[in-house]
Amino acid sequence: MARVGVFICYCGANIGGTINIDKVLEAAKKMPMVAFVDANKYTCSEPGQLSVRDAIVKNRLNRVVIGNCSPRMHENTFRKTVAQAGLNPYLLEIANLREHCSWVHGNNKDSATDKAIELVRMAVAKVGRDEALFPKRFGLTKRALVIGGGIAGIQAALDIANSGHEVVLVEREPTVGGRMAQLDKTFPTLDCSACILTPKMVDVAQHPKITLLTCAEVEEVKGFVGNFEVKIKQKARYVDLKKCTACGDCTKGCPVEVPSEFNMELGKRKAIYIPFPQAVPNKFVIDKRETPPCKTTCPIHMDVQGYLALIANGKFKEAYELIRRTNTLPSVLGRVCYHPCEQACKRGYVDQPLSICSLKRFASDQYDIDSLPVPEITKTGKRVAVIGAGPAGLTAAHDLALAGHQVTIFEALPEPGGMVRVGIPEYRMPRDILSKDIQYIQKLGVEIITNARVGEKPKLVELQKLFDAILMASGAHNSLKLNVPGEESEGVFHGVDFLRAVNLGQKADIGQRVAVIGGGNTAIDAARVARRLGSTVTIVYRRGRDEMPANETEILAAEEEGIEIMLLAAPTKVIAEGGKVKAIECVRMKLGTPDASGRPRPEPIAGSEFKLDVDTVIPALGQAPNLVFAKDLNVAVSGKGTVKVDEASLATNIQGVFACGDAVTGPLMVVDAMASGRKAAGSIDAYLKGEPLPTTAEPKAEAKKPSEEEIEALKEEYPEMPRLKMAEMPAEKRIKSFAEVELGFTPEQAQEEAKRCLACGVCSECRECERLCQAGAIDHSMKDEVLTYQIGSIVVATGYKTSDPKAYGEFGYGRLPDVVTGLQLERLLSASGPTSGEVLRPSDGKHPHTVVFISCVGSRDELKGHAYCSKFCCMYMAKQAIMLKEHDPHVQCYIFYIDIRAGGKDFDEFSRRAQQEYGTLWLRGRVSKLYQDGDKVMVCGEDSLIGRPVEIAADLVVLATAAEPNEGAAHLAQTLKVSYDTNNFFIEAHPKLRPVETQTDGIFLAGSCVGPRDIPESVAQGGAAAAKVAALFSQEFLTSDPMVSSIDQAKCSGCLLCQDVCPFSAIESQKLRDGRTVSVTNESLCKGCGLCVAACRFGAANLRGFTQQQLLAEVVSLWQ
């Protein structure tokens, strides 16, 4: 039988002043189960608690109701009281007669009293159904995690470590130090910030109990106090921390410069850099962003940004060497590649893409390949036969030779080079340059046998006996037929055959009036060659200009050379006389619906036939492979006439026989063939080594198109600078010979063009750093890692950043160069800053005489900025005013202020010193506008104390911007499941009494991540958080809150809906012995939110201490 004691508290006048306590007591006496009532002036005081304990014992009470303040205040207090009297502490209920009654109904005392009686009645009904609850114990890991390596985090880490526990300190930047490292001097002592900070930074790095992770971020946190499992992403530095000596050789050679974040973008840093000289760890780091789109799109993934950066810096030899790392035929691709990289180039969104192809050619032209050394190769003794010395076969041979295999290429034609030799005309690809590239490959030990047509001599079967592997790279040299009557007449000379004849110096007789049928590169090549042989040429193409597959530049060049392009026409008949071509009959076409290639299907227009008087017809409709020889070994051939291969390994159906290039894909571009050859070489190498062949094909490389915002940002940052046009031989001159048409860049032109590169990936992977590093510390292949730690307690110290003043257009930040932020001035004052401690104006580098500070830019502003005050700006402006005068005694500083907040120890004296000893003038008023007048920045403000507008001609204006939580604070709060406010600051458990705790057990806070704090506060809080952690770790075990969910397994239907709704993943499944699956609560994870109770349709889930029966009893009690 419940014997309830009801104790009403007057709480001084807080409750007693509004509620008629006597009336409540009278009513309580009549309530069911109530055995004793009493009132107390201050129940939470020592005598008050004593009287409750005595009453429990004397009256044999077994349930207690206290009508007092919010349970958040004293529920725990009275649980202890009740426990001391021998009762289970959970047989207690609080009726909140203060926050929920007297404090909100102060103007209606009668109703307030009635309500108080109801609240007590409900509490009595509930307590009658209270059960004794017993907290569980669980173990804890005594290792702390400190997130953020600024001064607060450093202090917390040191204090925890010194109390004997392990600490993992995670810092996102490459170095610890945070904002304090960016400061020059600190107020009010004017200590050099780095001097007082760096010893602590070094301590943290060297402390035996601290594991320091930089370039690292917390990714995932699971678990609960004492038992967190934390996943940390350790980003790749690309520099081995153990080997780097910070000598700086690497950074000297790095060609990429970007604005320095540490110097607030006032200076530059290289892609490989140390943020500042005292950084800890004092090691370099490489800033690598996404792989630039040029490299992604290139079929052979050239380090485009790399060699562009090297060319821009005049390092042509190094550029060529970098090109060779991925490109076996650079002189070729530099002239004939269709450059998909240029279509993807982000510069194209600003003005025009970089002339990547031509720059590659420039670099290749600078270097004499004959002087390229041949590396040492260890022979494997394996032999590979390659069929076809085109770009695919040559690239494969090159790679295989370097891998140590003996390669012999069998080339059917008299000269090696494949389509590059016999398809592409000399005026695009000079013969000797191509030969030189091929000769280098031969120097690697590759044997090329020409005039050897596989299938005739030797036969494929013979090769199989003599070689360990065969690579079919025979390309696609068969011309597709026109399929019109009269095609066999004399004078019909297929384009591929025509070009081959001309390129091999054989007879290639054509007439005077030539019609070339087709719109691809072969057609254009054939047309331009025919022109050079003296004929008049007309290209006949069945679709429109936009549908022509040939390179745009080629089409333009053809037109310049006087070649007519007849669009939307196709031949239907070749008209011959005496077996010789006399004319062709054509029909006009119109564009219809798109076909399989996506291009509009050409449809003939009935009755539009016309004749074209020609004596030569050159069809150039496309090519197909000649695979007759493949029958010898029964190599499978597809319906399209190409070799069937496994997409991932390029292996055919015959073991040891592989295929690549046009023979597999049908006609594609040179660079595609090279990529294919490289891939085949990789497979063959694995095959010869007895390793498994690749099983997954590389996904199609496609660079993402940048978003609209990104394009706008790029356009804003980079002024338009059009692409350099390549000098070309004039049209009238060039049709008289086969000399190269494009004349190339000069070194100055090449550098200028290369400088347009936006450095999309920042680090261009040019490998200069690797080359220059004598310690071998650079490793570009490093990958991000995920580290997992078992953690007992977490301290969040993620700090702040300063706000962007661009929201205040009237201050012209970003437009007027001499308007800077407080942190930027700090960098100018700093000896390690971009101007080595000389305060110089960004516009002209002169020393400023008149410096004007504007306070509260972004703070104390509900409309445009933050409502809060950023706390430390008044102090740092005073400090900066002093320091400016120390640097230059002729400086005059003005500070436009609203208030001067100098509340800390020695702060007011310091501020006054800036006025009295250093002549700083404080003007009470706001600034409405800044404008440029000559070389001065005019500051239009007001001095409200004299009631007049004030205009000051300043040399430098400093904006005191707001302190905001660092980037990613909200995301981290969500990861930790810790509360944060609308400004993204973390919320402490109680702003007065629990400043370093959160509502989440085991997670503590320190420093500016909670609100703007200065250094002494941040250090104090770091220590306070450490003390909390130490207190936690001083226990052998922790106890859990017993007011958790419990599932009645008899009622549970196993629907598992509770699992879905639980935000803490605290409900698990359990299979009972009778085969049923039911839910069970993990009591250590459960936070008692009650969502499962609401979700359970069977009433199986209940919350201990707030059972459904109790809640129902409370409601029912109101009707009594």
Binding site: Y808, G809, E810, G812, R815, L816, K929, L930, Y931, Q932, D933, G934
Partner: protein
């Protein structure tokens, strides 16, 4: 922009002291295929006089014109920046039902405050990509002067960026001219004070004209008859007062647009300015 038919509110000055604004606006709109139908029986918007004396008067005067535009069923194109501002403020105020009812009682007619108020600059700006610029104003350095009334208060006018607006500048680019990046785009010229506080008008106008001159402006482009008057008529007085040597023509943006679209200086009433724009234009070969 989904229409080319606008109701047109010239305001008091466009039929008198700012006639050239009216003429050039109509000419340019005709070229662009934009119809301007003048409001019948329109009333003065009240300008500064009304809103400094009587709140009810200040919103009722413009409300009458909003009612007319609503009845015409067309968006209301406004030329003068002050009229634009007053009409916009009225539109904003009449969202309050009590005020709307009071105004309706005074006007004597029922209307719903649904008329859309648009400034001429917006109309031209929206059509800049399809403008036919036959005589680009090549080499003409123009300081775009927006004045206060178009951009402030921002919540009511919602017109461009209040600190560094770009509409007129971008329009100038389309016209082939070279807009100057200057800091006084929205600085006050002295407004309605030339008769009562001439000293203020001289001081403020001097400051911004000096800036324009320093940056090498060939002319100012304006969108408000008050600004045009202050900056144009008082250059002599400014020079006398401050010892400066300012001689910068002040042109309406519609006049510049008209020139670029091939209309003649005569058609655009370029002879109605106190500081003659012809020398500057002839100097650049544009007239």
């Amino acid at each position: 922009m989904s229409t080319n038919a606008y109701a047109y509110y010239p305001g008091c000055t466009l039929h008198s002291t700012a006639k050239e604004y009216d003429v050039s606006a109509r000419a340019v709109c005709e070229k662009l295929g934009v119809g301007l139908e003048e409001l019948k029986d329109w009333t003065c918007c009240g300008a500064s006089s009304a809103h400094t004396t009587n709140e009810m008067l200040a919103i009722t005067l413009p409300a009458r014109d909003l009612r007319t535009a609503e009845k015409m069923g067309k968006p209301l194109a406004v030329a003068c920046a002050m009229c634009f501002n007053r009409l916009k403020v009225t539109e904003h105020e009449l969202a309050d039902k009590a005020k709307l009812d009071a105004v309706k009682a005074l006007v004597g007619e029922d209307f719903s405050n649904t008329a859309e108020v648009v400034h001429l600059l917006q109309i031209l700006y929206e059509r800049r990509k399809t403008m036919v610029v036959s005589k680009p104003l090549k080499g003409l350095k123009v300081a775009s002067y927006y004045g206060c009334m178009l951009v402030r208060p921002y919540e009511i006018t919602k017109f461009d960026d209040p600190e560094n607006p770009q509409m007129m500048d971008k329009l100038m680019v389309t016209l082939g001219a070279q807009p100057l990046d200057w800091d006084f785009k929205t600085a006050c010229c002295g407004a309605s004070l030339p008769l009562t506080r001439r000293d203020i008008v001289l001081k403020l106008s001097h400051r911004l004209l000096v800036q324009a001159q320093q940056l090498g402006a060939d002319c100012l482009a304006v969108a408000c008859p008050m600004c045009q008057f202050n900056l144009d008529a008082y250059q002599e007085a400014i020079n006398q007062e401050f010892g400066s040597k300012i001689k910068i023509p002040i042109l309406y943006f519609t006049q510049l647009a008209g020139l670029a679209m091939g209309l003649s200086p005569h058609q655009l009433h370029l002879d109605k300015h106190i500081v003659d724009p012809m020398p500057a234009l002839k100097n650049k070969g544009l007239a």
